[in-house]
């Protein structure tokens, strides 16, 4: 007998240790919290009270049906209340339903023939109706919102418990009872409640309507049924009144449970669980938001971070959060560390109506939110760095284009004109007339061929700076030309639509391929080269393969380092496979835009 619990504890310990993410650990730690123990005590006491009531059935044959019915409805309410309390410790609904269960239990005690119990029971005879009204108005946040609702709930308690007390006193002094007045005012309270619920249902959006529908709809039926039943059944079957009312009341927790299934009451955790989670560490960005969503049961909750530099709230990616007008149900609670604003929590005020609960959660998580704020700042500066690298590389391509154009429009044209002039001089000299003339002709033609050689050199230079086909026809035409002029057999496979490639991508792709094929011929002693250009979704794929000596690696020369720099500036990727004596295969991936 001893060993079983010990084993279980051991297993539980292992489970806690084994969790890598930390989430299970804090859920488990929470499970042995004080609230847990209190709820267990409530359940045990409730079960005991019910059993005592049931035990009284044989000695009370006249009220046996009522005793059993009260006991069952009591248990239903108690079970639902405890469940709601456990799922949402910070929400008032759970305690409210448990309170309703207690009121039900007390109200039903008059079915036992103990004098003192009869008086106590009389004080609580109609309290359950007031609790029902309270519950319906408070759902789902657990707090009564709006002046009308508050008034109706207070009126409900006055009409029910207040007039019950008055009735007990009047009965004690032998005065006439106030049952008729109570019934009339009760009708007013119930009808008003039905109207409020109906209005809420029609005014809300779809998601919330799904949550509200079961309880509100049933609530309308129940509050109307509870007040109509006595009037309809008073003549025909007065004994049924109590049963009908009990059945209607029993249905409320069931409707509530359906609301839970629709998402109104997802499992949440107490604030201390958040503290425990913080101690686990290693929390990443979505974790704080996720933890808060779980804790407050609000799927739409978001965490924003304060950028002191820009004086705006930003999201995790560093993007400015557009200030939304505080929608009717959106609310924001600032989060501070030592008085310094670090962020804010945006939440749905229908689900968590008390800003203090959100603020407390924010206090617990303030350090984590501050850390996430710093990460967001780093993300932004990293993005800025990447953009600046890209701008630098684009500027470099722009410079190359400009230099090539200047040489093309200026020097190349001038060299053609100079060569024409030299040739013209040769043409002017009277051919073969004398030795001087022949010398001039030879010298002028020599000059012309010298200028032609310089022009050829310039053509190569211009081509290396920015090849004409790249500008005129694009990547594939330029690479084709590159491959055409390679000193070893080279194959090109390229079948892509270039129209959507950014100019930075086109230029980078060209110069990367040019560097790689040059490496293949010059350093890898390749006997053949193969270039492939393709596209996969938004990525441009380049592969350059050779059958050379292999063993290529970044850092061995400037070549591959330059390739990596160019590619990384566009946030692309490079993969080098180059076993010794096994050839080299370099794959490059670039974003198309």
């Amino acid at each position: 007998m001893e060993s079983a619990p010990t084993n279980r504890a051991a297993i539980r310990q292992t489970a806690v240790r084994r969790t890598a993410t930390g989430q299970t650990a804090w859920v488990r730690r929470w499970q042995s919290g004080p609230l847990d123990r209190a709820l267990v005590v409530i359940v045990v006491l409730g079960a005991l009270v019910g059993v005592i009531e049931l035990a009284a059935v044989p000695s009370h044959p006249a009220t046996a049906d009522a005793l059993v019915a009260f006991c069952l409805v009591f248990w239903i309410w108690l079970a639902t209340g405890v469940l709601a309390w456990w799922r949402r410790p910070s929400n008032g609904t759970g305690p409210l339903i448990v309170w309703g269960a207690i009121a039900l239990c007390l109200g039903g005690l008059n079915n036992m023939s103990w004098p003192v119990l009869g008086t106590v029971s009389a004080l609580f005879a109609t309290t359950i109706f007031a609790v029902t009204v309270h519950l319906l108005h408070a759902f789902p946040s657990g707090r009564v919102q709006g002046r009308l609702s508050r008034g109706v709930v207070v009126a409900g308690y006055i009409v029910a418990t207040g007039l019950d007390v008055v009735g007990v006193v009047l009965e004690a002094i032998g005065a006439p009872n106030v049952d008729a007045l109570q019934a009339l005012l009760g009708l007013a309270v119930m009808v008003t409640t039905a109207v409020v619920l109906a209005r809420r249902l029609t005014a809300t959006d779809r998601r919330h309507r799904r949550v509200l529908l079961p309880l509100s709809l049933y609530g309308i039926i129940a509050v109307l049924g509870v007040v109509i039943a006595p009037r309809v059944l008073a003549e025909t079957a007065p004994s049924l009144i109590g049963i009908v009312q009990l059945v209607l009341l029993a249905g409320l927790p069931i409707a509530f449970a359906l609301g839970i299934r629709a998402g109104a009451f997802t499992r949440t955790t107490a604030l201390e669980a958040l503290s425990a989670w913080l101690a686990v560490g290693g929390a990443t960005r979505p974790a704080v938001e996720r933890a808060l969503r779980t804790t407050l049961g609000d799927d739409a909750l978001t965490v924003v971070y304060w950028s002191a530099e820009r004086e705006v709230f930003v999201d995790a990616a560093g993007a400015t959060v557009i200030e939304q007008l505080p929608g009717r149900h959106r609310a924001r609670v600032p989060v501070r560390v030592g008085g310094r604003l670090v962020g804010a929590i945006d939440y749905d005020s229908r689900i968590t109506d008390d800003p203090r609960i959100v603020a407390r959660a924010g206090d617990v998580l303030a350090i984590a939110i501050d850390r996430e704020r710093l990460i967001a700042e780093l993300t932004v500066s990293n993005d800025e760095l990447m953009q600046s690298r890209r701008r630098i590389i684009e500027a470099a391509y722009g410079e190359r284009t400009r230099i090539a154009r200047d040489l093309h429009d200026g020097l190349q044209v001038q060299l053609v004109l100079l060569a024409i002039e030299a040739q013209a001089i040769a043409g002017l000299a009277p051919r073969g007339a004398n030795v001087v003339g022949a010398d001039v002709v030879a010298a002028a033609e020599h000059l012309r061929s010298g200028i032609d050689a310089a022009a050829a050199e310039l053509r190569r230079l211009v081509h290396n700076v920015m090849p004409a086909p790249l500008r005129e026809r694009g990547l594939v035409a330029a690479v084709e030309e590159l491959v055409d002029r390679l000193e070893v057999p080279a194959a090109l496979d390229a079948d892509i639509d270039e129209s959507q490639l950014s100019s930075a991508t086109v230029h980078t792709a060209y110069f990367v391929v040019a560097e790689l094929v040059t490496n293949a011929v010059k350093h890898a002693e390749a006997r053949s080269v193969r270039v492939r250009i393709g596209r996969s979704g938004g990525r441009l794929l380049l592969v350059v393969e050779d059958d050379g000596v292999g063993g290529a690696r970044v850092g061995a020369g400037a070549g591959l380092r330059g390739v990596e720099d160019r590619v990384e500036a566009l946030q692309g990727a490079v993969e080098i496979v180059s076993p010794r004596r096994g050839g080299t295969r370099v794959g490059v991936e670039l974003p198309c835009v």
């Binding site: 024409i420 030309e481 002029r485």
Partner: protein, 225 residues
Amino acid sequence: MRVIIAEDEALLREGLIHVLENDGFEVVAAVGTASAWEEEIARLEPALAITDIRMPPTHTDEGLLAAVRMRRRYPEMGVVVLSQHVQRRYATELMGARPGGAGYLLKQRIADVRTFTVDLRRVAAGGTALDPEVVEVMVARAGRLDGAVGALTPRQLEVLALMAQGRSNAGIAASLVLTEKAVVQHTSRIYDALGLPLDADDHRRVLAVVRYLDVAGAPARPRGS
């Protein structure tokens, strides 16, 4: 001979006009854009039309595209494309499927006036003039990729290159200091080696050689006839 020129660089345009007029050509129009060139051709119907490749407005390949269009529209007219840079793709695009009447030369060739004007007259007469540099690239590439070209002797490669440039047997003989008979022997051996059908027509011979060189290394496609 009536000639129309398109060249956006004013100095070079003037230089070209000067060279041509000195050699007896009649420059009937000289313009700065490809579209103006096309309009003048339609209006004046010259024997020869010369254009730069890179011109306004895009400064890319509008001259080449216009040349291809004009060659298709005026089959009797010679079209010569000038450029700072030559490449295989442009050569084959300009030649198209129709033999003769086309030239593709580096601008620098203008200065070698004698050769240049001979090339222009040959194109105007329905012949071909491909720049030695682009032919060199094509022959070297084919030599690496195509076994038959790779197996030719150096002398045969020289003859092949001159054939691709559009030279006649007499022209080849003159530049290699050979007899015309020797050139004929070389050409027929080259034809045998490449499996090309013998053709008496010089223009079709150039086209066949250029297409053969162009598709070298691409075994899936049928070779030029």
